[in-house]
């Protein structure tokens, strides 16, 4: 049981560190690199650096709202029937 917890914790921290380093490199270091360097092939164009997080944030917010609405409607139905 502890091993599963440790594995999940390790996975979470690895994912967060990778996302942070990728995003830092993308936003802060890449503008200072010359246009012909090969590293530019591994990163999307800079506009996507804003679009993707905003899109993910909007999706998360809408999912939360839908979830809250669903739970509220369920509890109201229960109150009516009970």
């Amino acid at each position: 049981m502890e091993l599963a917890d440790k594995a999940v914790g390790f996975l979470l921290s690895a994912v967060s560190l990778s996302i942070f380093s990728y995003y830092t490199f993308w936003v802060i270091i890449l503008p200072f690199v010359e246009k012909d360097h090969f590293v530019h092939g591994y990163f999307l164009p800079q506009e996507y650096a804003i679009l993707i997080p905003v899109f993910a944030g909007v999706a998360l917010l809408s999912f939360l709202c839908v979830f809250v609405g669903y739970v509220t409607i369920k509890s109201n139905k229960k109150k009516k029937s009970a």
Binding site: M1, E2, D5, K6, V8, G9, F10, L11, L12, S13, A14, V15, S16, L17, I19, F20, Y23, T24, V27, I28, P31, A49, I50, P53, V54, G57
Partner: protein, 128 residues
């Protein structure tokens, strides 16, 4: 005989407890709601005020050309994402370093078995 007496006492105690709970529920409902709602309203106002102040600071920095205009959206989004990453990292590290107490677990199991034996010997139905 002993069992009957304890059963009756248990019933009276249960009745008293339920009546008290009803009285408490009926009396304090409005007050408890007020106590719950008011702090959340003030808390949200605080958070919104903080967001407005930070946004104002950022816009003033942009207008006075201290920060180049290409960073208009990049830096706030970057800060938000780094904050989320930091939170996730703390959760992951906490999960990894969570202390389990194997000796306490064994002792607890022993206590459970002992209590079950005691109760079944006294005639109480201790579940699974």
């Amino acid at each position: 005989m002993v069992e009957k007496r304890t059963e009756r006492r248990g019933e009276d105690r249960r009745k008293k407890v339920s009546v008290d709970v009803n009285r408490r529920c009926k009396k304090d409902r409005s007050n408890s709601l007020k106590v719950i709602v008011v702090p959340t309203m003030k808390h949200i106002l605080k958070i919104m005020a903080l967001v407005v102040v930070v946004a104002g600071l950022w816009i003033s920095l942009l207008q006075t050309s201290v920060v180049p205009h290409s960073y208009t959206w990049l830096l706030p989004v970057y800060l938000i994402i780094s904050l989320g990453c930091y939170g996730l990292l703390m959760v992951g590290i906490g999960l990894m370093l969570f202390p389990t107490c194997p000796q306490e677990a064994v002792l607890l199991q022993k206590d459970i078995v002992e209590a079950k034996e005691f109760l079944t010997s006294r005639g109480v139905d201790a579940g699974s």
